[in-house]
């Protein structure tokens, strides 16, 4: 028996918007500690990890670990039926092949419930080792989103290089080149506008902008994004979900012939 009640229903909608571009089908794993998901995109280049801790739910009951395979587009269809202020309750019985979604309006005068069919999905769970990253950049998520969007209209890939001066995003395309440098900036009115760079050693890695653009779909979840880079590891793009958990994206770097250190 699984029963989750999430007062801030819009959060679930945002979460889904954040991952459904990247992944079609995925298993949601529910345990006593929380609601999580890990899935690779179809080309096995990117990985998305979601965690919503049980503390973040108004009510959380999960008697036994349960894995629910869902088509994310279908789930998104259902969640579209929920209003932004609605309270969402997710229910599933053990051994059932459906999940029930219940949407209550904040004034309790409208209640809708939906039953969605689950599916069997073979998913490989990947172990993600804890790692020390050479550079960690925290910046406003809107800024990152903007940069990725802008650069993707010029080139396919972005070279992200972190130096003491700041973080540089550069691309090259048929029509020309582009460089965007963000300097460390902590003197801002609001802490979420800060750009903070922690760097142990300089890193520069190339990534496909297409994926980064999918990642930025998570921007509504958080005002800031944390980008962790290490020369021999996939980049981690993390959006924290306030008081609940996070969405993390991992993206394997492009391998550059003349740049030995980016090789896996």
């Amino acid at each position: 028996m699984l029963e989750l009640r999430l007062v801030q229903g819009s959060l679930l909608k945002k979460v889904l918007d954040a991952i459904k571009d990247l992944v079609n089908d995925a298993n949601f794993d529910c345990s006593a500690t929380g609601f999580s998901l890990q899935a690779m995109d179809s080309s096995h280049v990117a990985l998305v990890g979601l965690l919503l801790r049980s503390e973040g739910f108004e009510h959380y009951r999960c008697d036994r670990n349960i894995s629910m395979g869902m088509n994310l587009n279908n789930l998104a269809k259902f969640l579209k039926c929920a209003g932004n202020d609605d309270i969402i309750t997710i229910k599933a019985d053990d051994g059932s092949d459906t999940v029930t979604l219940m949407f209550e309006s904040p004034t309790q005068d409208k209640i809708a419930d939906f039953e969605m069919k689950l599916m069997d999905i073979d998913s490989e769970h990947l172990g993600i080792p804890e790692a020390e990253y050479h550079a960690i950049v925290r910046m406003p998520s809107a800024e990152f989103s903007r940069i990725c969007r802008d650069l993707s209209s010029i080139g396919d890939t972005v070279l992200i290089s972190v130096t003491k001066e700041g973080v540089k995003f550069s691309t090259r395309g048929d029509i020309g080149t582009a460089n965007v440098v963000c300097r460390q900036n902590t003197t801002v009115d609001k802490p979420e506008d800060a750009t903070i760079i922690e760097m142990n050693e300089p890193v520069s890695l190339t990534f496909a902008l297409r994926y980064l653009n999918s990642f930025t779909k998570a921007s509504p979840l958080s005002n800031t994004v944390t980008i962790s880079l290490s020369s021999e590891l996939p980049v981690v793009v993390e959006y924290k979900i306030a008081e609940m958990g996070y969405v993390r994206y991992y993206l394997a770097p492009k391998i550059e012939e003349d740049d030995e250190e980016t090789k896996p």
């Binding site: 995109d41 096995h44 280049v45 029509i175 394997a252």
Partner: protein
């Protein structure tokens, strides 16, 4: 003969056990490779002898128990406990390899899983299909109550049993003798399940040579076909349209004039079949039903197989030999030739230009399709690379379109060495499995394909083919960047192909 075949099977067992980590029991083996269960057991024993070191073996012991001589007992034991278990039996117990696996399963049910799935599959087959479970042809237990299809049943088995069993003869005898007893001794608690299986199995002796060929392909192929379907299934409607266009492109065999083409088509029957099936493969694979329907409307519909043999030289005027829906390529190819010659004879500029227009577009299409393929078929990577190269050349020709002819010539010369034959297997839309040899590699003349389509499939299809170009123009014109950005699954597959793109799996290990 048996030796040669078993050698192959033993290798295969190894790969199944070691790579797929599957439990290989003699029952599974027997059904999968259509060998008698006794042969399967001896195969397993041979296998254990050869490679058994790193593997776990489960033996099936059967015989009379010492302490309780009235019960006939069958027990599955692991390698380690074999000696102990033997002690409990009377001297004359038979020891057979029941299954081999990479490690001992925690849950004993795992031992039956694969058999069960297999048996289920076999039973699910339509009634008309004769499979080994339905007539139980591998069962050597025979008496007057057992009836099998005449010709298939007991006559062959006997022969085979004696032929195959060899070293196992003794044990086999024991088992066969004991089998009636087993039927009565179902009460043994722990092994009830085993016994119920064993009851039907121990004597399985039959083996049909004809099935031998059939069945081994079945299981592996099924999977493969499935994959194919999946990969093509995930692509949207557009993808399937592209797929169709590209199907045609793959099969032209560049060749000089008619007479040679005739020679060719009249050539070895094998080649014909290969070519035919290749085409069939492609078409039914990517757009299954549509095609089927069209073909029926074509009048030739009763035939599913179709050949498009393109013998086009660098000369554009010589169109290709087209051959549709016929099992006898030579016969059909003649009309095709006629057709083409009339077309070229008319020499209508219009049609010719149209072809030209079509050609580059169709090629554009090829790339995504190839990508999709690549996911499912392992052999293709190099080729797809080749294709990519080719498609870039296509872009060039596109821009050069006035001088397409020259472009084609270049390509034709370039392409020769890149192409090769590839064996492909899949399940077609009727659920039959098809193995075929396909020409893989960049194609110099798509245009001829379009032509063949026109002739063979009427205007409707022609329209269908002509439509895609409009759609595809945008990717062709723009740089690949914007085209790729759609973030949708179909496009993502494209990303995989990028040789520079790292794979997340190379960083994180599966748990």
């Amino acid at each position: 003969m048996a030796d040669i075949e078993t050698l192959g099977i033993v290798e295969e067992i190894q790969s199944i056990v070691a790579d797929k980590l599957q439990v290989v029991s003699y029952k599974w083996l027997s059904r999968n490779f259509s060998v008698s269960s006794n042969a399967a057991k001896s195969l397993l024993e041979e296998f254990v002898g050869k490679y058994g070191n790193g593997l776990e073996v489960i033996y099936s012991l059967s015989g009379w128990l010492k302490n309780n001589p009235s019960t006939y007992h069958i027990r599955l034991v692991s390698k380690q406990k074999l000696a102990d278990a033997k002690q409990e039996f009377d001297e004359n117990c038979s020891i057979q390899v029941y299954s081999v696996q990479a490690c001992l399963p925690k849950d004993p049910a795992t031992l039956w899983n694969h058999e069960f799935v297999q048996a289920e599959d076999l039973f699910k087959q339509p009634l008309s299909v004769d499979n080994c479970l339905r007539d139980n042809r591998f069962c050597g237990v025979s008496n007057s109550f057992i009836k099998r299809n005449p010709g298939k049943g007991t006559a062959t088995p006997q022969v085979k049993t004696t032929g195959v069993s060899g070293s196992f003869k003794d044990q086999q005898k024991i088992v066969q003798q004991s089998s009636p007893n087993i039927v009565q001794s179902l009460d043994i608690a722990k092994n009830v399940k085993t016994e119920s299986h064993v009851k039907e199995d121990p004597g399985q002796g039959a083996q049909l040579a004809s099935d031998k060929e059939k069945a081994p392909q079945q299981a592996p192929n099924k999977k493969k076909g499935h994959n194919d379907k999946n990969s093509s299934g995930t692509g949207g409607a557009l993808a399937s349209m592209w797929g169709r266009a590209s199907t045609k492109t793959k099969h032209d065999v560049p060749l000089p004039p008619k007479d040679i083409s005739l020679q060719k088509s009249a050539g070895s029957a094998d080649a014909q079949i290969c070519a035919r099936e290749a085409v069939q493969h492609e078409s039914s694979d990517e757009d299954g039903q549509n095609f089927n329907m069209k073909r029926t409307s074509n009048g030739e519909g009763s035939r599913k197989r179709r050949v498009v043999l393109d013998y086009s030289d660098e000369e554009d005027e010589y169109q290709d030999a087209v051959n549709l829906a016929s099992p006898e390529p030579p016969k059909k190819s003649t009309p095709g030739l006629k057709n083409s010659s009339t077309v070229s004879g008319l020499g209508s500029n219009l049609s010719f230009e149209e072809e030209k227009v079509n050609k580059p577009n169709v090629k554009e299409v090829k790339e995504p399709n190839v990508k999709a393929n690549q996911l499912s078929v392992e052999e293709i990577p190099d080729i797809s690379k080749g294709k990519k190269l080719e498609s870039s050349t296509t872009d060039k020709t596109n821009s050069l379109s006035p001088e397409t002819k020259a472009g084609i010539k270049d390509k034709a010369t370039d392409d020769g060495p890149k192409r090769r034959k590839v064996l492909k297997t899949r399940i077609d839309e009727r659920g039959r499995e098809v193995t075929e040899v396909v020409w893989e590699g960049p194609e110099p003349d798509t245009k001829s394909d379009n032509n063949s389509m026109k002739k063979s499939e009427n205007n409707t299809v022609n329209n269908a083919i002509n439509r895609p170009p409009g759609v595809k123009k945008s990717p062709a014109l723009g740089t690949s960047a914007p085209a790729n950005q759609g973030g949708k699954a179909g496009n993502k597959k494209g990303g995989t192909k990028d040789p520079k793109q790292g794979n997340i799996l190379s960083f994180f290990k599966k748990v």
